[in-house]
Amino acid sequence: MIEIRNVVKTYGRGSAAVHALSGVDLEVSTGEVLMLMGPSGSGKTTLLSIMGCILQATSGSVKIAGQEIVGLAEKKLPKVRLDHFGFIFQGFNLFPALTARENVELTLKLKGITGSAGRKRAEHLLEQVGLADKFKSYPADLSGGQKQRIAIARALAGDPPIILADEPTAALDSHSGLTVMEILTSLARERDRAVVVVTHDSRVLHYADRIVHIADGRIAGSEEEAKEEAA
């Protein structure tokens, strides 16, 4: 689903250049939960951004469902994101002026699904994440776990094949974090989504099918090493 080859990402130029990623190779398959781990500044969020077509790689190759992204015109990237990705953010990034249902409907509107069809789908997704009674609640009135579940429903609304999650449990208590991870894992297992999770949270590593450790902009170690380090 995602195929990354020798990806380099450099910020700045000349002596001020910072190499955020240096020759990264990675593949993510459908039905897989991949976790990216590494210390702060290691490049994992940059890698997630490049996977999600939010950042362009300086060089290398990034293929999403077979389509080469590196070098693709900037104006074509929104459609790639819309068609292939659902994003979940550490800070939820919900729209405070919109209700839970309206937040989910927003993705559907971007895909051209409006009116009662959009409303019903949004409600269905919120029911799936256990928020059937929160359709009309505003984010400010909900707990962190509930907000993240709205974010998951929103990420799923466009029926994307890939879910990219950046520290989805970091702002949650233990119970809520595990609930969120169970939802994400079930998406991979039962609905064949590719799920990529950037995390520092050792409590959730057992949900991973594969763990990739990044350090200094490179894939630094195997799954076993990463798990041992986390343990």
Binding site: T45, L48, S49, G52, I54, L55, K75, P78, K79, V80, R81, L82, D83, F85, F87, F89, Q90, G91, N93, F95, P96, A97, L98, E102, L106, T107, K109, L110, R154, G158, D166, E167
Partner: protein, 376 residues
């Protein structure tokens, strides 16, 4: 996207109020100042506009209609010889003193016209008629100036230039641009009242009525050739010359126009500032939208829809304030015109102002790095 714009707009009520106050302030300022300007334009030369004359003949280098010097009325006969002339009438517009009941003096503009042709005569009569001016020492004044002139009723006797005058009629809404009201009377009476300025064989103007179908430019050329060193202006030229003098050369019109422009600038700055602040506050949301796959044009839609909604709300509120102000000003000395074209134009202006004020915000939103959404 319109829903998001609407929800964003009403979500932060304090900001909405600040935005609307800015827009309403700007629009009311624009409406009032521009309304005053329009009113000035209308009032400054209304006596010319409604004169019904085809040509105005006066002493040379006349700066404006209220600033004429006397000419010999014998020129009338020469003027009547020009082919295409239907008739030529004498006309006086002169500043004369009006004695108030208290003994104080007010200046008025005595307006003496031909009772036969009625060229340059009054309009909008609410009491009496032009025919009543055939009586000796009779005058018509406007209702607006009754109090100023100490007039209480028809038939009242007053004193103009030490001559007796009797009120035989009232008009409504014939304003003077200056502080001196128009007082209408027959040409003959006006000669008496303006005796200090206009001698018995003199007039201030000759008003020409062209025969039907006559080309006015050709008639004007022929008249100038016939009369020699006199100003001959079409009614439109006299109207424009007088308007330009009062509205622009005195600075009165420029001041009101500048007020309107100031209102526009204040409006754009206030709205730009509030919309920019709102955009900055929502920048993370716009970044999220972009990350979700929204194109820049979708983001523009949200910002512009917010701006347009603000403009429409602001306009409705501004009209709710400006319309009563305009209405109540109609009986005063400084009426504020609010014709439907201005009302409609102001709505377009309000939306354009808000959209224009959004440009900085749009530039900001365009440059959002969607990767910001991953930064805590």
């Amino acid at each position: 996207m319109v829903t998001l714009a609407w929800k964003n707009l009403i979500h932060d009520k304090v900001r909405l109020v600040v935005t609307l106050v800015g827009i309403v302030f700007a629009l009311v300022l624009i409406l009032v100042q521009f309304g005053l300007f329009l009113s000035f334009m209308d009032t400054s030369a209304n006596i010319v506009e409604r004169s019904g004359a085809s040509l105005w003949i006066s002493a040379p280098e006349l700066p404006y209609v209220n600033g004429a010097s006397p000419i010999q009325e014998s020129k009338r006969w020469k003027a009547m010889e020009v082919p295409g002339v239907e008739r030529v009438d004498r006309y006086i517009l002169a500043w004369v003193p009006w004695k108030l009941p208290s003994g104080a003096i007010e200046n008025v503009q005595i307006t003496g016209f031909s009772l036969e042709s009625k060229l340059g005569g009054p309009w909008n009569l609410t009491a009496g008629s032009v025919e009543d001016l055939r009586g000796e020492d009779t005058v018509i004044v406007d209702e607006l100036y009754k109090e100023k002139l100490g007039v209480t009723h028809l038939g009242q006797t007053v004193e103009i230039s030490n001559h007796r005058a009797r009120i035989v009629g009232f008009t409504r809404g014939i304003r003077s641009f200056t502080t001196a009201p128009f007082v209408f009377c027959s040409f003959k009476n006006a000669q008496n009242y303006a005796g200090g300025v206009v001698k018995e064989n003199q007039t201030m103007f000759l008003l020409v009525r062209a025969a039907a179908g006559v080309n006015l430019e050709q008639l004007k050329t022929a008249m100038k050739a016939k009369l020699g060193d006199f100003d001959v202006l079409t009614n439109a030229e006299m109207h424009k010359r007088t308007q330009i003098y009062w509205v622009f050369q005195t600075g009165a019109g420029i001041t009101t126009l500048l007020g309107a422009v100031l209102g526009l600038i204040v409006g754009i700055v206030v709205v730009a500032q509030t919309i920019y602040a709102a955009t900055v506050d929502h920048i993370r949301e716009f970044g999220t939208l972009k990350a979700m796959g929204a194109t820049n044009s979708r983001i523009y839609q949200v910002i512009l829809a917010q701006a347009a909604m603000s403009g429409i709300f602001g306009y409705v509120l501004a009209m709710a304030i400006a319309a009563p102000i305009s209405q109540s000003s109609q009986n005063g000395n400084a009426p504020i015109a609010l014709p439907p074209e201005v009302a409609a134009g102001t709505l377009a202006l309000a939306i354009a102002m808000c959209a224009g004020a959004s440009i900085i915000s749009i530039r900001k939103a365009t440059r959002i790095d969607p990767a910001m959404v991953f930064r805590g």
